[in-house]
């Protein structure tokens, strides 16, 4: 990668070569793409894309195991519910840095916002695959159903994705060296950060509110009238965990893209570890309150109870203690392990609520088809490839020196 891509505006004739081909000529660039991992990614994306086309051509019934009794499956449980919750790092870090003045976390704000933006875009693609008639989506804008949790989710996701796009445009304009529009966007960034907190708070909790109308379908250990609070608190924990996981990976992979002083990633992650410990500790007790409120202690002794305890103790309480231990004794490895466990635990929670423990007492329980898995894997791969493409070109890991002084 040529350093001129970051440090100076390239001459007009070389723009494509510098900005898109990373300073190489086309044959060299194409040869550089021929790696085993790229080949695997291409196969996964091609398979997922083909099956997505097949789903729209042949219908939901042909491509999935969804039915009238189980209308929500892997695409909602994983792509939508898990994709959205794991993208919570954008508003968590954005608000910490720009609203609460924790400027030491600024170096990880841009990767967090990019992850969030890609997460939301792919969640929306997954949602489109799941909707019976996705072309009718515009109805949420012309016929508002203000008493519906689903309307709140749809509206807020739509608006928050727009906010994330605008936040992501800051490094895009730096990359393009568009100073005037960059300055104008910077003036709006504080308002955009406030909006991102408002929309995220609303729709992260509203995703849980969707299940308030299904107390008979969701297993009592996961159903609670407080479920929207559980979803919101766990979203904050997931956001912190994802920033730690993603920061660990990207700081190693994109080290060459960091200009100027490197952030002390260990110190930042130890600070995030403290927040993660406190957040998960609160979340664990809230989940216990859910059991107490429903008087379901006896259900903990069943097979479903063991599964619930695995999630609540193994992937909430244990990572909370690991975060705390790591933060107290300055052992960042424990914080990273706790973050991975938190990510797994919260994805497991969303899958439990929307797929595994949903319609739990039906004789023929839903199991996703191989095509549903392939589409989801293809979408995740697409997200990873898009992140790499953008981070290799745009000032994501650090600010463009030509725009020094940019607060966002």
């Amino acid at each position: 990668m040529s350093s001129t891509a970051l440090t100076a505006a390239a001459p007009r004739g070389d723009w494509f070569r510098e900005k898109i081909l990373l300073g190489m000529d086309l044959p060299t660039y194409l040869r550089s793409l021929a790696t085993p991992l790229n080949a695997l990614a291409a196969v996964l994306i091609a398979l997922g894309g083909t099956l997505l086309v097949y789903r729209f051509a042949a219908g939901l019934g042909a491509a999935s195991n969804l039915s009238q009794t189980q209308p929500w499956g892997l695409w909602i449980g994983f792509d939508m519910m898990s994709g959205i919750v794991l993208a919570a790092g954008g508003f968590t870090i954005g608000s910490a840095v720009h609203l609460f003045g924790m400027h030491e976390y600024h170096p990880i704000a841009r990767p967090a916002i990019l992850t969030a933006f890609l997460g939301y875009v792919l969640a929306v693609v997954g949602l489109m695959a799941d909707l019976g008639k996705p072309w009718n989506f515009y109805n949420i804008m012309v016929t508002p159903g203000s008493a519906s949790a689903l309307f709140e989710v749809a509206g807020c996701v739509l608006m928050y994705t727009t906010v994330l796009l605008l936040e992501f445009l800051v490094p895009v304009f730096e990359w393009l060296n568009w100073r005037k529009v960059h300055e104008r966007l910077e003036k709006a960034m504080l308002a955009l950060t406030v909006l991102s907190v408002v929309f995220s708070t609303m729709h992260q909790s509203a995703l849980g509110s969707l299940f308030l109308i299904a107390p008979a379908k969701l297993h009592p250990l996961w159903y609670s009238p407080y479920i929207f609070i559980f979803f919101f608190i766990s979203a904050i924990c997931a956001g912190i965990a994802m920033v730690v996981v993603e920061g660990t990976l990207t700081h190693r992979i994109f080290r060459h893209r960091i200009t100027g002083k490197h952030a002390d990633m260990d110190k930042l992650q130890l600070g995030l570890g403290k927040a993660g410990a406190i957040g998960l500790f609160a979340y664990f007790f809230l989940k216990m309150q859910g059991v107490a409120e429903g008087e379901h202690w006896d259900l903990l002794l069943t097979g479903w109870g063991a599964w619930f305890l695995l999630e609540a103790v193994g992937f909430v309480l244990v990572p909370s203690l690991l975060y705390g231990y790591g933060a107290r004794y300055k052992k960042v490895k424990f914080v990273r392990i706790a973050a991975v466990m938190t990510v797994i635990g919260i994805v497991l929670n969303r899958l439990n609520v929307s797929v595994i423990a949903y319609n739990w007492d039906r004789p023929n329980h839903y199991i996703p088809s191989w095509m549903e898995f392939a589409v989801s894997i293809g979408l995740v791969t697409m997200g990873v490839v898009a992140f790499r493409w953008i981070a290799n070109r745009m000032p994501i890991m650090s600010e463009d020196p030509n725009f020094a002084g940019s607060k966002f």
Partner: protein
């Protein structure tokens, strides 16, 4: 159910008890997470090696 009226209060008792227990444990947990380990009790202390 024998006496539903009393059961509601039993459930509430557990809820409030859990909340009070949580707050009590949370204070200790917060101090533990925020605090520094005692200088002599750092688990990652390495044995002294050669200095020259």
């Amino acid at each position: 159910m024998e006496n539903e009226f009393l059961n509601v209060y039993a459930a509430k008792l557990v809820e409030y008890g859990l909340a009070i227990a949580y707050m009590a444990i949370f204070v200790s947990f917060w101090r533990w997470v925020q605090g520094e380990p005692a200088p002599g009790r750092k688990p990652d202390a390495k044995p002294a090696g050669r200095t020259s």
